[in-house]
Symmetry: C2
Subunit: 597 residues, 2 copies
């Protein structure tokens, strides 16, 4: 069988089973109905549907981005056709409870399944991605009635969902949102305001859209503490679940992006008076949970959403790598170094060391990022289903610490894998006749959305590593230490020693940064800190993968070892200069006056 | 006056006059008619025309790429309008001899002038860029008659030129071209073959197109030694200079690229029988110089072409930086770190340290690359007009050594500046409503064309630093040493010491790499070598700029110091890990079997 250029099933099997021991999860009550066979079956299904229904229109959707026609967002028909197959196969429900018609798959398996769709067509896969996140949030914080009314149709794939947070003037700074939600006598709210960057904000893919909207109730506390969360459906829902009046949520414009074009990205107006549900002005909204706790609810779901974005960045890099590898094996050009005979035959370009260097680098980023994403997804399962409270708390703390890295690291290095994929293709890679340029454009969004990488850096250094007296960082160090201890006496002892040194360095640098008493100095260097710790974490996961190869010497496992060695020799050393810089408490950026730029 | 977002005239004046002392050139006979005033006047003119005629259609040309209609390439009309103004202003002729109607500008001034057009609209500016390179090559190697027939109309801007090297199966490996040129009794040749990636290969901008084509004369030596260079005009030219028959050069297709869309990029068929000039098959070609020396002639012009590509990459990064700076000064969001009052006003985002970090990094890449490009252009002037043969030879050797860096370094870091420019803009930067995403797409071509960066790496490590017993590298070390000596006792002594150490390291690493006797080991690490030496060179040019600021303390010069400090503290240290890697003679890439990827 010709191997897929979307993702590597072989690698997924390695990560899930040879490394993460995912099959062990079936011993837990929640996953008792599952087995290696059911996991395999759903992965087979995902690969098949991604290959047959998602990948073929990836370019089509890029070239024919959503258009606004008569106030509606119109997409190419292939998007709906693919999503209908996805829903029909039960994949929207994959991770959800049986009681809602779900398969109760472990999150780590769900992420591996969904990776196929993101890699095949990130634009189309955004609709279910957002819907699943929306449903999860409501399951955690919505009322029974809200779950029955809105979540069930989402899990059934009949309605899709959005997350409507940002506004034109408030992207990263949600404290500044101005959308208002005024309470009504009947317990509902009426919303007015404008939301920006809302993916999936309008379309005709489903009969209704469930918007989750952040807004402020007048009289509440200022800033982020006064933000509440509301369900604002496109169509109001009658008591029997049928669709009622059109709510006053109106498509005000589409954003035209460099990539990710298949996903409608919208400007939405709430309560502008285009519709007047119930004869009253304002978009009807239903409060989720308690007032003023909206951001807390959102952040509760943020770990999974951010890991999801990191996974998207990884698999876009991964498919770029696979396409470059295929190209390098088939494209002939040039001679082996030292072959002076001009009559000798050109060789496949994979024979050139510099091409292999690029492929090895891309492999180490793509497979390293996938390991990171699945490791974090496994932690979500631990957090939710580990036997003891202590294990669950431990998983929660480690996941919390790793989340900014799981979002930002693949968002930085996945695009580099795509950049290398273009370079391997040469001029052909720069043309739209080959898919790698689209992966590159699509992937550029990932360092921006779901919290820019700069925000992730502040989250890691400003919150995660200092919370609870540094318990998160200590736990990460212990966890890495357990791995390096296992490497003693193996061929990986050198990598383990370098990792131990980098871990120690992280601890001392963190103490130095916060020891100044001047948070500005610390936070001005947060992005470098994030990069250094991110590389350390991925180097650790490469050691984990190398150790999981023990005893296997086939080409696949040798490839893992080669990438681990590459990451050790070529990548981990980057962190030394970064730690040096951090330790020097450099003030260059802080001291540069704005007028001098 | 609102400062330009295309380029900074203030910076150009600093580089040309406060640093490179370009005015000194007017003491030389070739530039005797010039003065600071004439240089200023042509720079003023360039800024004005770039602003008024090139920048406005940059997005238009991107969105309406050339189409093939009835076998012709059709462009938006703004391209011709802009180029007519450019030609009318005498800018095509800027650097050429007065005898051809030129201004005899120094190359360094010509590059500064042309930088405005590349930054404003890289797609449209490619036509004159190619034409000037074509004309320069013919001036150096063509016959008197060829110059009169083909070069004069090019300098007058009536005809444009191309460079037709690559073929579908032969991009980087010109040895493998198969286009044939068969000698005829009348001294002309008849060419048959297909050329790929030919920029400006067809259009209606000018009445004729002068193709410079590499082809093999049957019976010649195999490989690169059997390549000859031919003039193949789109229309044959009668003795009186008027246009005659259509030659058999046919537009076979257009390449659809991710960026650089304004430049027609073509597949051309030569001698396919669509036209039969003189009733005979084959495209009529005229040999330039001697048979089998085509590649030598091409390489003679390569330094300037490669510096030109590097300049393009730099100024695309530069304009990205300026747009990001403007955005960061006007876009408000978030609060100063530590400002806990939620009622405080949002600040311009330039107030956030992480935004300043990104701007400072982009500034250091853009202005560092511009310094590199103009320094090399100044060397071209030295090479051609310095008083003594020794000075000219010295300039030639240094230029030869720096050329792969001048091409590759900006091609790597200019796109990073554009990447940072998008990030500063957040979600807006990812939309096509802002120009930075186009700069990012356009700039991605630069590491590919005019010799991929991998080819530049082989050129530097495999040829330039070993040629003449390492004389090039020694000269570079001496030149850098002269700068660091001047820094003694200044605030820059620390940077100078780090530079001296890096220079010493370059020498020892080069010796180690070549000392193995195994060229594979050396060349497998060529790209890292190029990156490390490139960063060293740009750090040196930042020291040069910092020293040129001595005695000035206004915001502009403080900004130069801030960027120099940034490059010293944040960028130069990257090279340590790279040199360590090189010194270890790492075999990871070499030893990775193709089957393991």
């Amino acid at each position: 069988m010709r191997s897929s250029l979307i993702l590597s099933r072989r690698d997924l099997d390695f990560l899930l089973h040879e490394w993460l021991g995912v099959e062990d999860l079936v011993k837990r009550p929640r996953y008792a109905e599952h087995s290696r066979e059911t996991f395999d079956a759903v992965l087979d299904l995902a690969e098949q549907i991604a290959t047959e229904h998602f990948a073929p229109h990836n370019r089509t959707a890029d070239e024919n981005e959503p258009r606004m026609v008569d106030g509606k967002a119109v997409l190419v028909p292939e998007v709906k056709q693919a999503l209908d197959v996805f829903v029909e196969a039960g994949l929207m429900a994959g991770e959800f409870d049986e009681e809602y018609g779900g398969m109760q798959l472990p999150h780590v398996v769900g992420q591996a399944v969904f990776a196929w769709f993101k890699a095949a067509n990130v634009g189309t896969s955004a609709y279910p991605f957002l819907t699943m996140g929306n449903a999860r949030l409501l399951l955690a914080h919505g009322s029974r009635e809200q779950i029955d009314t809105y979540v069930r149709p989402e899990i059934e794939g009949r309605w899709f969902g959005t997350m409507a947070l940002s506004e034109p003037q408030a992207g990263s700074s949600l404290a500044d949102i101005t959308t208002r939600a005024v309470p009504q006598d009947d317990g509902t709210y009426r919303l007015t305001g404008n939301k920006m960057w809302i993916s999936g904000g309008d379309h005709e893919l489903t009969e209704n859209i469930v918007h989750l909207v952040l807004a402020k109730i007048p009289g509440g506390p200022p800033g982020v503490k006064g933000i509440s969360l509301f369900i604002v459906p496109k169509f109001l829902v009658d008591e029997d679940g049928s669709l009622g009046e059109r709510n006053d949520v109106v498509l005000a414009g589409l954003n035209h992006k460099m990539g990710y074009r298949g996903t409608t990205n919208t400007l939405l107006n709430f309560g502008e008076g285009v519709h007047t549900p119930g004869g009253q002005p304002g978009a009807v909204g239903y409060l989720v949970g308690e007032p003023h706790r909206g951001l807390t609810y959102m952040f509760h779901m943020m770990n999974e959403a951010r890991i999801g974005v990191g996974m998207g960045a990884t698999v876009l890099g991964y498919t770029g790598y696979l396409h470059a590898l295929e190209y390098a094996r088939t494209r002939t050009q040039g001679r082996r170094a030292g072959a002076k005979d001009p009559d000798s035959r050109p060789v496949p370009i994979i024979g050139h060391p510099d091409v292999r260097r690029m492929l090895l680098a891309a492999k180490s980023y793509a497979e390293g990022g996938l390991a990171l994403g699945l490791y974090c997804a496994r932690l979500v399962d631990e957090e939710q289903t580990a036997e003891t409270e202590e294990e669950r708390a431990r998983a929660h703390l480690l996941l919390d610490t790793l989340t900014p890295i799981a979002k930002a690291w693949p968002s930085q290095w996945g695009p580099v894998a795509d950049d290398l994929a273009i370079q391997v293709h040469g001029g052909y890679g720069y043309t739209r006749d080959y898919p790698v340029e689209q992966f590159y454009r699509d992937n550029r969004l990932n360092p921006i959305h779901e919290g820019t990488n700069g925000i992730q850096a502040l989250d890691l250094l400003g919150r995660k590593v200092v919370a609870r007296g540094g318990a998160g960082l200590r736990l990460l160090a212990e966890t890495i230490g357990a791995t390096t201890a296992r490497a003693a006496g193996t061929q990986w002892a050198g990598l383990a020693a370098d990792l131990d040194a980098a871990v120690a360095r992280t601890g001392s640098v963190t103490a130095t940064l916060w020891g100044t008493g001047d948070p500005d100095v610390a936070l001005a260097n947060a992005s470098v800190y994030l990069e250094a710790v991110g590389h350390l974490v991925v180097a650790w996961l490469w050691l984990e993968q190398a150790l999981a190869c023990e005893g296997s010497t086939d080409a696949f496992h040798e490839g893992k070892r080669a990438a681990a060695r590459y990451f050790w020799r070529w990548e981990l050393p980057r962190t030394r200069a970064q730690f040096d810089l951090l330790e020097s408490l450099d003030r260059t950026v802080l001291d540069t006056d704005e007028a001098c730029l």
